[in-house]
């Protein structure tokens, strides 16, 4: 696919247009990336394309190489890899809490200990997710304002 970037005058609206023969998974990935940069995740639900505001996402989980995002009541599959989503959400309020899970810290009600160095995060929709002990120190740093890197 040829890539063109053209500078435009300040009074014109910025437009990203993709000209393609077919909306393939690769094209969809590009669309998802752009949407995520705008604060939205693009997905399909009941055959219709919908946009999920990132602020509404409670957590994202990778299951059998498929990535799902969970809102207060619903879940949606998105055509991205977890690490790609993690990169996109870098600097936002998401942090890795398991090998296959990203958690939105703004959706956490409280944290309590589980067994053997693990913790459980109680979410604002009363769902619980496990924080793996490998990721506890990263979580603490992020909460203290030190970032997760």
């Amino acid at each position: 696919m040829e890539l063109r970037v053209r500078k435009i005058p300040i009074n014109e609206s910025e437009v990203l247009e993709i000209r393609c023969h077919k909306v393939t998974d690769d094209v969809q990935e590009i669309i998802s990336f752009v949407k995520s940069r705008q604060g939205q995740l693009s997905t399909e639900h009941d055959g219709q394309r919908i946009e999920i505001p990132i602020v509404d996402v409670f957590y994202a989980e990778s299951v059998d190489n498929r990535l799902f995002i969970y809102t207060s009541k619903d879940s949606y599959e998105i055509k991205l890899k977890l690490y790609e989503l993690e990169d996109m959400l870098h600097g936002k309020t998401f942090i890795r809490i398991q090998k296959g899970m990203l958690l939105n810290l703004m959706k956490v009600k409280s944290i309590k200990p589980a067994l053997s160095g693990r913790y459980t995060a109680l979410l604002k929709n009363n769902e619980e997710v496990v924080i793996s002990r490998k990721y506890v120190s990263g979580l603490k740093n992020a909460l203290k304002g030190g970032g997760d890197k």
């Binding site: 309020t93 942090i95 890795r96 398991q98 090998k99 810290l105 703004m106 956490v108 409280s110 944290i111 309590k112 200990p113 067994l115 053997s116 160095g117 693990r118 913790y119 496990v130 793996s132 002990r133 490998k134 990721y135 506890v136 120190s137 990263g138 979580l139 603490k140 992020a142 909460l143 203290k144 304002g145 997760d148 890197k149």
Partner: protein, 148 residues
């Protein structure tokens, strides 16, 4: 993100567990000793006993760790295996040590029960430590959510 649970973290965990065990074993030795052998006197060498027994109790930490996140069921099975191995090791020492009256069944039972009690208490102490950490994280979380 730093997310490896490597030898440094395991050493830290073992170190913390070691001192919890030293304290609890000292109390256990005091209780069992006063119950069954209250008149006996020891030399200063006796102070090594809790340090030694705690060391035995910590060794399985390095063999029972998994990089995989265990389910609750597997975690319980792991802990049961852990305590059985420590029980076996301690009882082996009890039967081999010349100065422990292992011919008295009540002494052996007390030590076996004592090991189990120490194990459970160590889990409780760990839980209290983790609860403190969780409270600290909750305070940071509240601040974090206010400032975002």
């Amino acid at each position: 993100m730093k997310n490896k649970y490597g030898i440094k973290e395991r050493l830290g965990e073992a170190f913390r567990l070691y001192f919890i065990l030293v304290t609890l074993i000292t109390i256990l030795l005091m209780v069992v000793g006063m119950l069954f052998d209250g008149d006996r006197t020891f030399s200063y060498e006796a102070f090594f006993s809790p340090l030694f027994y705690a060391f035995i109790g910590v060794i399985p930490v390095f063999f029972f760790q998994s990089d995989k996140e265990l389910s609750m069921k597997r975690l319980i099975i792991r802990n049961v295996l852990y305590v059985l191995i420590v029980e076996a090791a301690i009882l082996l020492i009890v039967f081999k040590a010349p100065n422990i009256p292992s011919d008295r069944i009540e002494v052996v039972i007390s030590i076996a029960v004592g090991v189990l009690v120490v194990f459970i208490l160590s889990l409780i102490v760990e839980y209290i430590f983790e609860l403190t950490q969780a409270n600290e994280m909750n305070a940071y979380l509240e601040e974090y959510q206010k400032n975002k």
